[in-house]
Symmetry: C2
Subunit: 469 residues, 2 copies
C-alpha cells in the first residue's frame, strides 16, 4: 500500500482509530474460516463520512478495502486476501432504536445481533434471525452474509427482515434503499441485492429491520432415532402434516457423543440421531401440535420421544445443540465446516450420501444442522498439518458439494461463499449467471476495490482448505 495513502488516512482518523502496528494487524488477519492474510492498515469507522472518505481514498490509490464486523465468518468474508485496508465496523454500535408502533428497529452496523432481539422483547416483539453466533456477531456482518439460524425454518433468514438500508457505495457515495414501510416496489430492490452480497457491493451503515409479534409460548421435543436416514424422513413427514415448527435441528451420533464428552447432559449416546424440535404459538394450539408431532415421529420410527416438563429442561436440550461446534473442535484441531442446503424432500438422500462419503474417505464426519429447512452442516474434523489426511478431506468436501448440487441443492445455505467456496460457483451457477453477477459488481465497483477475492473465483483458485494465505 502506498505510503501517501497511509498518510492521508492518518489525516482522516484519530490515532486510536487507525491501527498499523504488526500485532494489531495480526488480530485482523483471520476469521472463523481458513487462512491468514495481513492487511496494511485497519480503520475503526464510526460514521458515514469516515466510511465515505476511506472508500474515496481507496479508489484514488486503488487500494482494497475489506469491511469487517466481529470476524465470525465461516467462509472468509472479511479476510484481507489482497492486502490493503480492513474497515472495522464493530465499534459503531451507538444506535439501537425500537419503534413498536411501526414494528421496526433501526440499528448501527456494529450492534450485536442478539441485542436487537433483547431490545425487541421488551415490547413483546421479536427479531427472528438467530445465527448460532448471534451473541458475538454484529448485525452488519449478518446483513452482509444474509445469516440464517435454526428459526429460518419457520421465520426465514436475515434478508426477510430488512426493510431498508443506508449504504456507502464502493465509490464512496451515500445511498438509501427501501425504507420503513412493509411494502415497497419503488425501483429495483437494492436492499435485497446488498444483503448477502458479502460486503462486495457497499458498506452498510444503518439498517431498518422488520420486527414481528413474539409468539406467547414455546414447546420443545427431542426425538431419538436408531437410523440417521429415518430421522430425515421424520422431518419431511412433520413438515407435510400442516405443522410448521420454529426449529427442527438434527444431531448425528458423532455430535451427540462429542457433546456428552464435552459436557455430560444425559443425551442418548447410543442413538444414531436425535431431532430437537421447537414449536411456538398459543398454548392451546401447541398442546395439540406437540401431540400430533409426537404421533408422527413415532409412526415414522422414532425409538423414543422426550417432552421436557420445564423451561429449564428444554433450555438444556437447546444448549446441547449450541455445544456441538465447541465440542467437536476438542477432538482434532481443524474443523472444516460445510453448509449445503437441499430441497426438504431430499434430506434423507443427502444424509445417505454423507454416510457413504464418510466411509469412502474414512474421515471423521459430524453431521448436524438446521435439517428442517434442508440446511445441513457436515463438519469434517481433521488436522491441517496432516497433508495426507487433508487431501482426503479436500476430496470429500468436493463430493459433498457435488451431492448437494445433484440433489437440486446449493453450496451454501447461510455461511456465504467468501474465499472458501468460490471455486465451486461456476459449477452450480453456470458461466452466464456468474457473468451477470460480475456485471453488477463491475458496474458498482469499477476499480474492484471493495472486498476483492470473495464470491467470484480467482484464476489461480482451486483448493478449498489447503491454501494458506
Amino acid at each position: 500500500m502506498d505510503e501517501a495513502c497511509l498518510r492521508e488516512l492518518s489525516k482522516i482518523f484519530a490515532q486510536d482509530q487507525l491501527l498499523t502496528n504488526l500485532s494489531d494487524l495480526h488480530s485482523y488477519s483471520y476469521d472463523a474460516s481458513f487462512g491468514t492474510y495481513l492487511p496494511n492498515a485497519v480503520v475503526q469507522v464510526k460514521n458515514v463520512d469516515e466510511v465515505s472518505a476511506v472508500l474515496k481514498l481507496a479508489n484514488r490509490y486503488r487500494v482494497p478495502v475489506y469491511p469487517r464486523g466481529q470476524g465470525t465468518s465461516l467462509s472468509g468474508g472479511p479476510l484481507p486476501v489482497k492486502g490493503g485496508i480492513v474497515m472495522d465496523l464493530s465499534q459503531w454500535k451507538q444506535k439501537l432504536e425500537i419503534y413498536p408502533d411501526d414494528l421496526v428497529a433501526i440499528v448501527s452496523p456494529g450492534v450485536l445481533t442478539s441485542e436487537i432481539n433483547k431490545a425487541a422483547e421488551k415490547y413483546g416483539l421479536m427479531y427472528p434471525p438467530d445465527p448460532s453466533s448471534s451473541h458475538v456477531s454484529t448485525i452488519g456482518g449478518n446483513l452482509a452474509e444474509n445469516s440464517g439460524g435454526p428459526k429460518g425454518l419457520k421465520y426465514g433468514v436475515t434478508k426477510d427482515y430488512v426493510l431498508g438500508l443506508e449504504v456507502v457505495t464502493p465509490e464512496g457515495e451515500f445511498i438509501r434503499t427501501g425504507g420503513r414501510t412493509i411494502k415497497n416496489v419503488t425501483g429495483y430492490d437494492l436492499t435485497k441485492l446488498i444483503v448477502g452480497s458479502e460486503g462486495t457491493l457497499g458498506v452498510i451503515t444503518k439498517a431498518f429491520l422488520k420486527l414481528i409479534p413474539k409468539p406467547p409460548t414455546t414447546q420443545t421435543m427431542m426425538a431419538v432415532f436408531d437410523d440417521l436416514v429415518i430421522s430425515g424422513k421424520a422431518i419431511s413427514k412433520v413438515l407435510t402434516s400442516g405443522i410448521l415448527p420454529a426449529k427442527i435441528e438434527l444431531m448425528d451420533r458423532s455430535s451427540i457423543i462429542a457433546v456428552e464428552n464435552y459436557r455430560p447432559l444425559g443425551l442418548p449416546v447410543e442413538a444414531e440421531a436425535i431431532l430437537l424440535i421447537q414449536l411456538d404459538g398459543h398454548e392451546e394450539t401447541l398442546n395439540k401440535e406437540i401431540e400430533e408431532t409426537n404421533r408422527i415421529v413415532r409412526e415414522v420410527g422414532a425409538r423414543e420421544t422426550v417432552i421436557p416438563g420445564s423451561r429449564e429442561e428444554a433450555d438444556q436440550l437447546w444448549q446441547a445443540r449450541k455445544l456441538v461446534s465447541p465440542a467437536i473442535v476438542t477432538l482434532k484441531p481443524t474443523k472444516v465446516s460445510e453448509d449445503v442446503a437441499v430441497p426438504r424432500s431430499k434430506i434423507p438422500d443427502m444424509i445417505d450420501r454423507l454416510n457413504r462419503i464418510k466411509e469412502k474417505y474414512n474421515i471423521h464426519l459430524v453431521v448436524f444442522g438446521h435439517a428442517g429447512d434442508g440446511n445441513l452442516h457436515p463438519n469434517i474434523i481433521c488436522d491441517q498439518r496432516d497433508t495426507e489426511e487433508m487431501i482426503q478431506v479436500e476430496q470429500a468436501v468436493s463430493e459433498i458439494f457435488n451431492a448437494a448440487i445433484e440433489l437440486g441443492g446449493t453450496l451454501s445455505g447461510e455461511h456465504g461463499i467468501g474465499t472458501m467456496k468460490s471455486p465451486f460457483m461456476e459449477e452450480e451457477l453456470g458461466s452466464i449467471t456468474l457473468d451477470m453477477m460480475r456485471r453488477i459488481k463491475t458496474a458498482w465497483d469499477p476499480n474492484h476495490i471493495l472486498n476483492p477475492g470473495k464470491i467470484f473465483p480467482e484464476p489461480d483458485q482451486n483448493s478449498l482448505v489447503l491454501r494458506d494465505g
Copy 2:
C-alpha cells in the same frame, strides 16, 4: 421497426403466434393504467428458445421488446411506449406442478395466479400472495411487478415466495437463479433483483415458488367507525397487541356508498369507515384472538362490530371489498388509482392528509386498501376529457405522493412504477440511488431493448395522467 426484422420474426414463429394486423395490435396497446401505444408486432411465445430468439433479434435490430402477461398492470408495466415487439407470455401456461414434500410449486409464466393457490390447496398448502386481480392476472406479471394483496399484512408479497427463477436475459441468454431450497446464499440474489424489476432485466420463463401449510380456519370481523382517522388508530392498536391478522382492509365512506349503489349488500352507508379484518390459524386460538380484537377496536372507538356467523356471511363481506374497484368506475369514466405505502404508525396521519387533499382540490377521492400493512389505494374518480378537472387531479396526485414521502413512506407499495410514477423516482430515491439502479440496467441490457420507458424517468416526462400515447 425494420421490415427485415419482421421477416426474421415470421421465420421463427408460426402464423398464429405472430400478430401484425391493426386490430390485434390495438388489443395490445393498453393495460389497466393510462395511455395507448401501438406496437409494431406481437409474438405469443411458448418456450425458452422463442424468447431467446426474439431478444437476440431485437438486439441485432435495436428493436424494443415488452414482456406482457394479461395486461392488468395499474402502472403501465407492459405498455409498448416506444413501439416495437410485445412479447405475450399469457399463452405459456403448460406447467403447474406441486411438490408437496418440498413445499414447492413450479410454474410457467402464463399460469393464472389463483390457479396456483387452487392447486396447492389440494395438498393442504397455500400460495399466499393474493392480488385483487389474481383470478385474471398471470404469475409472470405478478413476478415482474412483485404484486401484493390483502394477505401481505401477515404473509408478505410475491417476492417472499420465490425460491428461484429461469430467466432469459435482455441479450437472449438463458440463466437460472436460486433454486428449490429454502436457504440459498450462493452469490448475489438475482432472484429478488429480477422479481419486481418490471420486466426490464429479463423475461421470466419458469418460477420455483415456496408454499406454506394452509391455516386450518379463518375468522372475519367488520368494525364500523364514525371517523376515518380513528379507524387508522384501531389498526395500529391491533397490530401492537401481539395479534397479527391475515388481512386488515379499509373502506372509507365513498367506497361503502359506491359498493352499496353498485350491489346492495347491507353495508353501513352512514359510517365514515369500515375495517374488514380476517384472522387465520387454529380454531381455539382464533376464538380468543377475535374476542381480543373486538375489545381493542371498540376501545379505540368502533361504533359497532359484526362477526359473521357463517362462512357465507363472511364471504359476502369480502366480496364487498372486491367490488370497490368495479363499483367506483361506474361513478365517472376515469379512475386514477394510487398505491402509496407508509410506516404502520403513520396510517392515521396519511388518512388525515388525504382528507385535507380531498377538500383542497375538491376531488372525488375514494380511500380503501390494505391499510393493515400501511398500503393505501387512494383513487381519484374523474373524467379524463375534462382538462380543468384533470389539472386539479394532477396536483392532488402530486400532493399525495409528497405526503407519503414526508411520512417516511413510498410511491408504490405493490403496483410498480411503470410509466405512471417514474417522474417521481428521483424525488424519493435521490439521484445517486437512481444512478446505481441505472448501472444495473445498463450492465444487463446495454442496448436498452427490454421494456424501455419504464421505472426510469424519461427526459421529457413530467405529467402523470394528462399524457396520451
